[in-house]
Symmetry: C2
Subunit: 638 residues, 2 copies
Amino acid sequence: MSTTPSTTSRVPSEIDIEALRTLLDGRWRAVRADVRAQLGERRLHPDPEWSVAEHRARVAEGMRLLAESGRPRLGFSARHGGRDDIGGSVTSIEMLAYGDLSLMVKAGVQWGLFGGAVQALGTEAHHARYLPAIMDYSLPGCFAMTETGHGSNVQALETTAGYDPATGEFVVHTPSQAARKDYIGNAAVDGRLAVVFAQLLTPGGRHGVHALLVPIRDREGRPCPGVTIADCGPKAGLNGVDNGRLSFDRVRVPRDALLNRYGDVDPDGRYTSPIDNESRRFFTMLGTLVRGRVSVAGAAQSATQTALAIAIRYGLTRRQFAAPGSTSELPVLDYLAHQRRLLPALATTYALRFAQQALVETLHEVQTGGTTDESAQRELETRAAGIKAVATWHATATIQACREACGGAGYLAENRLPQLKADTDVFTTFEGDNTVLLQLVAKGLLTRYRDHVGDLDTLGMIRFITEQMADIVAEHTAARRLAQHLHEPRPDDPDWHHSLFADREDHILAGLTRRLRRATAPGADPFAVFNAAQDHVLAAARAHVDRLVLDTFTAAIQRCPDRGVRELLDRLRALHALDHIAADRGWFLEHGRLTPNQAKAVTATLNHLCAELRPHARTLVDGFDIPEAWLDAAIVRP
Amino acid sequence: MSTTPSTTSRVPSEIDIEALRTLLDGRWRAVRADVRAQLGERRLHPDPEWSVAEHRARVAEGMRLLAESGRPRLGFSARHGGRDDIGGSVTSIEMLAYGDLSLMVKAGVQWGLFGGAVQALGTEAHHARYLPAIMDYSLPGCFAMTETGHGSNVQALETTAGYDPATGEFVVHTPSQAARKDYIGNAAVDGRLAVVFAQLLTPGGRHGVHALLVPIRDREGRPCPGVTIADCGPKAGLNGVDNGRLSFDRVRVPRDALLNRYGDVDPDGRYTSPIDNESRRFFTMLGTLVRGRVSVAGAAQSATQTALAIAIRYGLTRRQFAAPGSTSELPVLDYLAHQRRLLPALATTYALRFAQQALVETLHEVQTGGTTDESAQRELETRAAGIKAVATWHATATIQACREACGGAGYLAENRLPQLKADTDVFTTFEGDNTVLLQLVAKGLLTRYRDHVGDLDTLGMIRFITEQMADIVAEHTAARRLAQHLHEPRPDDPDWHHSLFADREDHILAGLTRRLRRATAPGADPFAVFNAAQDHVLAAARAHVDRLVLDTFTAAIQRCPDRGVRELLDRLRALHALDHIAADRGWFLEHGRLTPNQAKAVTATLNHLCAELRPHARTLVDGFDIPEAWLDAAIVRP
């Protein structure tokens, strides 16, 4: 490989911004336009002087505005006044994250989690009775899954719902402090009805976690009998959302409160379900709720784009230090260190935007077309988990970098970055802790999305995985052959990037499979084997998501009709790829995928691409088409 | 090198916690004990429900408590009622950061920056007149250096102080919006007198930046005539500190308002200075203010320790998921991924604690002994800059990791982590932007702390540097020989770690020197050469600081009399070193310093050390001896 980066840029100096925006807006461009038209001239972000109560009141007002817009109907079934437009629904929630993330979360709780659970886990009677009031926000609700003692391992929730055949009721109960529902959005002030996840008990036995509708407040806002509600108090951010804690003291609800699509109890207490295996049933229920993760991934990206728009615009006007022999100071974005801080992060933000578009389209297809193909459903869940983890960590790191890139000004509330950082921070651990989500991704890869793996215990799963190993190794070898085809690649060659990413993914996965097989050996301690491989599991998941994100970026460029935009994005894609390769060059060198000279060329090309893209930095952040009123930071005001 | 990590731990199961605490407390143990005795039973951290005004009022109350303790006297000269104990002074400020970082910053502004500037830049008359009132806080003051337009490049400040021989006064003036003093602690509410940095003008010409004492408020708190004061408004954190903006409209102060140790103006307007070169004079003045950076480095570490104590204690009680075949869930700290998140960060926190101790001792020696050795002063500044940068970035990353490791609970204000994160966030950019500080470190290394380099322009400096190159290369070669001596090192061998760190430092520095020499070639564009090397400059600085930190850790272990503690810390030091080597293994592989098999062994040993140290996690955080009242997070309450 030549160690000299190519020096002739093909990127035209003038870029057609509308072509860029069309590509970035994607399939649900009309929904984005509708949100911009309704809200684009309002300041949506919270005033830092607001008290928690004031912020909550403003968000409540925002909820009413949204309900009036009719957009919350997008995600619900047309039979009950909805629009059957899942992709549009997720896009509309993602758009709110440019404004106030508290409003985005509150909307996500009401229409995504609460309404989504009624729609996905309930049946016709529930839909007819509740969906209209959920859509128009006359019935504010909660999604009460997490407990103080169980966040990641939700299969082990402790709340119980025991059926009493004598009265035809379920008794919902919180048996311990650890079993109280915790961090529940909409619970502290507004929620009236909650989807409560609880262990279902009948005279015949336990049936695992199911969801029931439990009233928690009356119309006057008083807690219902037997329901104790506490406020979670101030949080790092998202203080416009009323998170609360719910405890139930033997609260009785009628039999039809059970959201009974995947499990039902007849008046005599007999339990029936279309899915026999308890674990598989539970994960099927959870799988229908994937929309929440997709929304969080999107919202994290909106916030990241806002932060980058602020930091990059500031970097173009803020001047500090003069070049030797000169007296006029330079814009800080002219410095390599500043470029390296912001431009690769911007490139990855673009990459994730296209990955998100593809994810939303898949979600839309799977959920609109019905979920008969179990493997497609599992693959969707895996992708959603992976992109959510990667996008939210990227948000945390990038908003931090933007804050630092703006110096002391970045620390002032008037410049928006503190709120963006504080609000998005929880995204790395809510809707699934990222570390746990990446383990789900690895499991999806290892089991190749076969649903019946859900029926197996852990060791059964490992046996299944190792049976698949021959296939994986064969693929891996093919990928390596591809890589070896490419003699002397240019450091900015997209095919070379793809083959490095794909080969790494296959190699890590094959190695992991071999390692986990040890757990099935006689006398092995399976926990010790799994635990020792946990970093390997996470690396396999990351490598998979990274490859996926790179490939969707490449595909997005190919479908853009505008040549100038294609050429600009081609450089940006190279910057994204090389930044990732540079960050993990230890692995590539360790495994002989890069020579030392190639690794050095990667860094040199990275720096070169930063210089090449520097003149386009403003165009690239303008491409996100964030209304000026939503970008209103003191340091970027004209 | 054997790829199998050693498996027999020598660490005894019982550690003498007092021996560990004695080592960690270091030379100023008595000062630490004094602070713990005065404040250790009080809750110091802010209530998240406090308004900005309430928080400021509490911090003001804390300031009075501190003044009463007499500890602020530690840092001032005995002639005026001080104690001449610089090390004790810095330690006492560092201790406050376990409680409320706003209080620490406010104390740092009053007694470190404001009082420190009067002491270091003023002369006898200023000391006699002001120090007593500064020490007892009857005269709250500000350190007004940064301007809206100039933070890093303070030599280019725009505020002017022109001498008027007709009246014998200086006229202090803010010529533009960009010249207003910004982010000034103590300015928005409490400060009465400010040390104002301004371009000194006399009828004879400009003399560069000097400091003057300018009254900004009268005793009733009203702004003085010609002084405009604004509040910076809410910030990401540190809202107990009243940061403000100061503008001066031709404010007249008497001639003796000039802090005239390094430059004076006689009644007729003649300027004199013991240092002829303007740039050198300015950097000499700045150098006397190094204490601020040392304090911030220490405070960042206190906050990091608090966050780790909370997250690790929670990780030992929080259980989630059961091992295959078991029904009882495991403490999350038993998972490798959780260990990898927290334990290497804990190891580096120990490393930095010892580096900080050594830094404070050097500061104490240099400032107590007077600063006649210019090279020792420059080396101190370089170390302070480097440790400040590394320790504050470590704080940001580690507190973030702790927040995520506590899941949703980590997002609640009641668990302290949000406040710790928000408060410390600004440390990466205040008292010197970390990226700029690392460039100072590299400059110190390249010029080998020669003071006269301050007299040279940039190109002159580069010529000087390249003249030194022969020496550097010779050292480098010697270091490499050392490294090559060590055939087949064990992955946890301290000598091998040291030689890897030292060799990397020398190699990067030598390469950088060669690269910068290009700027002196005829026709070269010096800015282009410097800018293209900026990542190389930062890498050189990091490599230097990393080596320094590792060496102080090793030295600290050697001086510990307790064998059990030594053996525990020996493992912790190895974890710290290997975590750094693993993170930069791309470089070591690229430069042939690690073979691929050695690199893999590094990761394997890292995981092994995590498992080995896991039983000692609680002991290691208890070693910081943070009073329980200061650790009061809901999730760690018994």
